[in-house]
């Protein structure tokens, strides 16, 4: 470790935030760009499965809530792209990386939303898992990222409650609604467990990231925490978690549960999830169809600036 690296690590160990102008190891910067960028992209792509139900939301109130939520997600994307920009990478560069497939987004958004209860499940399970991941990141070592996470977590927990509220309505509703709720849980349970990533034993980057406080808890710890929190909620809803092996382990003080199908996880990561193609095509189309708008607004801004100079 060079003296610079040692000083850097001392600051982190002392819980002093790293700020954009501070020296930092290249690998720290690169890891952060990858992590923040991927998170930002997830917020953007994450609009699509929910957007799929905006035009079919069953009441005006539900439609308004869903719109507000999707708007928040775009806002989160914005915070995160700004945080990434402090590391010297522009939003357009990150977008190009997303569209070319060089950067990823959370695989969960490659699953379809097929009935209205899915919108509840996305809030309850997906946002629930996201919060589980994000809450510790409020204490992450990089200042702008930490501050973005603080803002985001506040809104996310609101979203999670709204999602749970939808599930509650559905679980207490008609037979068809109950069936929708169970169907949603069946389809989103394992993909939600996958959101924490494969077991840390298999993850190469984890140790360094944890030392740098870019990553705070292990994937398995977070997954266990999620299961422990979610199972009683499912029970309260009267829904059945689709796992025969799910059982409270008195000794461990945790639930035992089945691992998700990691083959499926890696397939989805490779682009073979149910919706990868649709999601990427959706984003590509938005970007390509919007080129004339971005160009037009840019040209106008330049004209205005030129006129202003000429007038001075």
């Amino acid at each position: 470790m060079t003296p610079e690296e040692a000083a850097f690590q001392d600051r982190i160990d002392a819980d002093i935030k790293i700020e954009p102008k501070d020296w930092m190891p290249d690998e720290y910067r690169a890891t952060l760009v990858r992590q923040i960028g991927q998170h930002a992209h997830s917020e953007i792509v994450g609009q699509l499965p929910e957007g799929n139900w905006i035009t079919r939301a069953p009441t005006l109130e539900r439609k308004a809530i869903l719109l507000a939520k999707v708007q928040d997600e775009a806002g989160h994307g914005l915070y995160l792209y700004c945080a990434a920009e402090t590391l010297g990478v522009s939003r357009d560069e990150l977008t190009e990386d997303l569209l070319s497939g060089r950067m990823k987004y959370s695989s969960i958004f490659n699953y379809p939303t097929l009935n209205w209860a899915d919108i509840g499940a996305v809030g309850w399970l997906v946002d629930g898992a996201a919060i589980m991941n994000q809450v510790p990141l409020q204490r992450t070592s990089y200042g702008p990222y930490s501050r973005a996470m603080i803002r985001i977590c506040k809104e996310e927990s609101f979203h999670q409650r709204q999602g749970y509220d939808i599930m509650m309505k559905m679980a207490q509703g008609t037979e068809a609604q109950k069936k929708m709720a169970q169907d949603a849980l069946n389809r989103f349970w394992y993909p939600s467990l996958m959101m924490f990533g494969p077991s840390d034993k298999e993850s190469v980057h984890s140790a360094q990231s944890m030392a740098w406080k870019i990553k705070i808890d292990s994937n398995d710890e977070l997954r266990q925490r999620f299961v422990d929190q979610t199972v009683p909620q499912a029970e309260y809803l009267g829904l059945t978690v689709p796992d025969d092996k799910l059982k409270w382990n008195e000794e461990r003080g945790h639930y035992d549960f089945s691992e998700p199908d990691w083959t499926e996880f890696f397939n989805v990561l490779k682009g073979k999830g149910p919706c990868n193609t649709e999601r990427m095509n959706g984003r590509k189309r938005a970007w390509e169809d919007g080129a004339w708008v971005r160009d037009g607004l840019m040209a106008h801004a330049q004209k205005r600036a030129a006129r202003k100079v000429a007038a001075e």
Binding site: P58, L60, K63
Partner: protein, 256 residues
């Protein structure tokens, strides 16, 4: 408050207000996640959200005035196309981003004037909704106007697209200023202005914005109509309803 004698006309007037915001809100919400730039995704979602919020107020009051126990949701999700009273403009397809923003500006500019007049409505409930909505719409019209200007006076391509959008949409503008017996009753009761009385101010606003945008407003004042009277909507409305009303139709009586 002047409701008793005018309740049928007032109901009709409130449907017109609420159906405008409902259908336009629906259209705008179709953009979700597909805007040309992230800030626009946020702005479009925000606009849709405001419009749906206004719909809750207008249609909520409409149901109250009707007095048959219909909620805002009942009115939104359980009427078929012929019972809708929105102007045709708001049903038209999104087209490209320019067409969506042009439609938005043409509507916002009308809505701003209408709400401003409604703030002085003799019906306190109407005045209250108008006051709340006016704050949101002041922001909408500023934003949509700026975008029309930016794209109109942008590149050659953006200018051409915005001119095409204006040419396509302008023949639907006049309907917002048409008056009929309902409007006469509302005007007489001091509840709402005669829409025709708003046209001069609208034209002035349009001239200013289109001037800056270097766009030519068509001379021809011919207008399509039939939406706000329910006589004849476009074919688009029926398709909007298939999505919008799907769950309420497929699962009648469920609570969401």
């Amino acid at each position: 408050m002047a409701t008793k004698d005018h309740s049928a006309d007032l109901f009709e007037f409130l449907l017109r207000m609420g159906d405008n915001t409902l259908i336009l809100g629906h259209r705008v919400s179709e953009w979700c996640g597909h805007a040309p730039v992230l800030e626009e995704d946020i702005a479009l979602a925000n606009t849709a959200l405001d419009l749906i919020g206004q719909t809750q107020l207008w249609l909520g009051l409409a149901g109250e005035v009707e007095g048959q126990g219909r909620s805002a949701d009942d009115l939104a999700f359980l009427r078929d196309a012929w019972d809708f009273r929105n102007v045709l403009l708001v049903e038209l397809p999104n087209g490209d981003f320019g067409q969506t923003l042009m439609r938005q500006f043409l509507f916002d500019a009308w809505q701003e004037l209408m709400l401003d007049a409604l703030k002085g409505s003799s019906d306190a409930r109407v005045a209250e909704i108008a006051a709340k909505a006016a704050k949101e719409v002041a922001y909408h019209v500023e934003r949509s106007g700026d975008t029309v200007i930016g794209l109109g006076d942008g590149t050659e391509e953006s200018h051409a697209r915005m001119q095409a959008a204006l040419d396509y949409l302008y023949p639907y503008v006049g309907e917002m200023f048409e008056s009929d017996a309902v409007d006469a009753a509302m005007a007489q009761a001091g509840i709402a202005p005669d829409p025709a009385s708003l046209r001069d101010a609208y034209d002035a606003k349009l001239a200013a914005v289109m001037g800056e945008a270097t766009l030519s407003t068509p001379d021809d004042r011919f207008t399509h109509n039939g939406g706000r009277t329910g006589r004849m909507h476009t074919e688009h409305l029926g398709h909007i309803l298939t999505s919008m009303q799907w769950l309420q139709r497929a699962y009648p009586g469920a609570s969401w």
